[in-house]
């Protein structure tokens, strides 16, 4: 990569976003506590009561809790690098302004990536706090010291989804196409990544899900929360790292073609 990164500029991009969000920080973070509560009470306690067998009642709360935490990180990162990034790149001409400074495209990409990761981490950790609250109330959602590794893993999940969003953003010209990204990509992931049921109940479910990022995110979060850490979790972490690395090599080049003409 030509001329590498300038850490001060990467930080400046992060700080610009933080300056905007600082004003509404408290307001922004509150919904992140309600959302997990709604899912855990509505689906975990509500639906879980009808289930029979090993996922009955409180066990269903423990089953879906960690996966929903992974989805929260996914959502936190996705919004930043889809709609928000598109607006900054086009309508508000913010990237044009950045590129009038010593900033190069890769600094902007990395600054936005770190910011989106920060938001994913905030969403994910808010969810984790709610899960720990359920633990205090007697549910067995987070039961292992491995949970200490959750924040970095939430950041990794955030980074991976931030890069997928950036990649999509670098390819599209009209903002309406994000409707497809959300309904045809993120929503199916949310439903078919093993958060609510084992994907193996569909033919090739496991194999198909293995190729998608949220499946690995869920597997990691569930394993770390409940102490079932093994080769699967290692593979999932490497999967997320690998995909992130590949995208990080592609995205700055794509955006440079778009912004520097």
């Amino acid at each position: 990569m030509r001329a590498g990164f300038d850490p001060a500029i990467v930080w400046a991009v992060w700080m610009r976003n933080f300056t905007v969000y600082r004003r509404t920080w408290v307001m922004n973070i509150l919904p992140n506590f309600f959302e997990p509560l709604l899912y855990l009470v509505g689906l975990g306690l509500g639906l879980g009561a009808y289930l029979e067998g090993p996922l009955h009642g409180p066990a269903y709360v423990a089953f879906i809790g960690p996966g929903l935490m992974a989805a929260a990180a996914m959502n936190g990162a996705s919004f930043e690098t889809t709609y928000n990034m598109f607006v900054r790149m086009t309508f508000s001409r913010l990237y044009e302004a950045y590129l009038g400074t010593p900033a190069l495209v890769q600094d902007v990409v990395l600054g936005e990536l770190l910011w989106a990761t920060t938001r994913a981490l905030a969403y994910g950790c808010a969810f984790l706090l709610v899960l720990l609250g359920f633990d205090l109330a007697g549910y067995r959602v987070v039961t292992s010291w491995w949970a200490l590794a959750l924040p970095p893993v939430l950041a990794l999940i955030g980074a991976c989804f931030a890069l997928i969003g950036q990649c999509f953003t670098s390819l599209i010209r009209v903002i309406d196409l994000y409707a497809y990204y959300y309904t045809l990509f993120l929503t199916p992931l949310f439903l078919f990544s093993g958060i609510f049921f084992h994907v193996s109940r569909f033919p090739f479910g496991e194999q198909i899900a293995w190729c998608t990022p949220l499946y690995h995110s869920v597997r990691l979060c569930r394993g770390l929360s409940q102490g079932a850490v093994g080769l699967e979790q290692l593979v999932s972490a490497l999967w997320l790292l690998g995909v992130s690395a590949v995208l990080f090599a592609i995205v700055p080049r794509r955006l440079r073609e778009r912004l520097v003409r």
Binding site: A3, I9, W11, A12, R16, A97, L99
Partner: protein, 338 residues
């Protein structure tokens, strides 16, 4: 508070003011920007079709031309927002072609792009403080620089206002302040006054003059000839990607046209009236437009009475030749037409 923020006044003090010390070829200030055979194409369109020009330190250099002439494309190549297809472009001693010096070049120049790109979600002060970080100015240093620039562009009393609430002139001044955050040796402005009302234009010109007095080299584009005449020491006129004329405003006019113009406004300006033809050699050049005839000449007094007598129905106006006339002569089009 000094007239000019920070280092530019220090630089100015370090060398004699250009205006008070008339220069000869030998002690001319060094060249800070030199383009040679600079080219840029977009598909089949040659936006910049091989141009050569150079800008010396401390001068205000203008690029005048209609819309689509290639001014912004040239500016974008200079501030490294656009790759160079062909030719060379040396900026402050660094070669821009190839892109290897992008970061180094961008650290030393200031940029005011054509389109408004202020951060709508931030206040006036935040706009400067946030962008100061891009130049490595953090904390107190960044705040102090922002404060000095707010004073310089006369926006201190608007410091805590959201950008959306500013008038067009204020937004432009804030764009200029943002371009000055790095205390640049060279400030590049792309159509800084387009769309502003006359007062706002005057206000901006006055700030640009203050900068030039402080020693900052200015490179600006415009499609207003009065702006070019007012501000620029030297300029080039661009049209369809090429430079069609170059020089100091008055010298440029003198080189291409006689000093005076008689404008004959009349309803039926289809052909040159015989009365004009009869004036013979006194008229050095004539131009037929849809609603008037332009007569270029050295001595208007001598022919005015003759014209008034021969063409009593025509409205007659005498004025000095302008850059617009030069452009008209060179391209056969008017600047505003594009």
């Amino acid at each position: 508070m000094a007239e000019c923020p920070g280092g530019s006044s220090a630089r100015a003090a370090a060398r004699p003011a250009r205006r008070t010390a008339p220069r000869t070829a030998d002690d001319a200030p060094p060249v800070v920007l030199r383009a040679r055979g600079l080219r840029k194409r977009y598909g089949d369109l040659e936006a910049v079709a091989g141009i050569d020009f150079s800008v010396r330190r401390g001068e205000c250099f203008g690029m005048l031309g209609p819309n689509g002439a290639g001014k912004s494309t040239t500016m974008r190549m200079i501030y490294r927002a656009s790759p160079i297809d062909e030719g060379s472009l040396e900026i402050l001693g660094l070669e821009a072609a190839g892109g290897h010096n992008d970061r180094a070049i961008k650290r030393r120049i200031g940029v005011v792009p054509q389109e408004d790109s202020l951060d709508q979600e931030l206040t006036v002060r935040e706009n400067l403080e946030v962008f100061a970080r891009f130049y490595g100015l953090r904390g107190e240093t960044g705040r102090a620089r922002a404060e000095a620039l707010l004073a310089f562009v006369k926006l201190r009393d608007k410091a805590e206002v959201r950008v959306g609430a500013l008038s067009g002139g204020m937004r432009r001044r804030l764009m200029v302040a943002r371009g000055l955050l790095s205390e640049p040796e060279l400030l590049v402005l792309d159509e800084p006054t387009t769309g502003l009302d006359p007062q706002a234009r005057q206000g901006l010109w006055e700030r640009l003059r203050a900068l030039r007095r402080g020693g900052t080299t200015l490179l600006l584009t415009t499609h207003y000839m009065d702006e070019a005449e007012q501000l620029c020491d030297r300029l080039v006129i661009m049209d369809r990607g090429r430079i069609v004329a170059e020089g100091a405003p008055r010298a440029l006019i003198a080189a291409h046209l006689p000093p005076h113009v008689i404008e004959l406004h009349m309803d039926t300006a289809g052909a040159l009236p015989e009365a004009v033809a009869a004036l013979g050699d006194a008229i050095e050049r004539s131009e037929l437009l849809s609603d008037r005839i332009l007569l270029y000449l050295h001595d208007p007094d001598a022919v005015l009475s003759q014209l008034a007598h021969a063409l009593p129905e025509a409205e007659v106006l005498v004025r000095r030749s302008t850059l617009e006339d030069v452009f008209l002569k060179l391209t056969g089009r008017r600047l505003e037409e594009g």
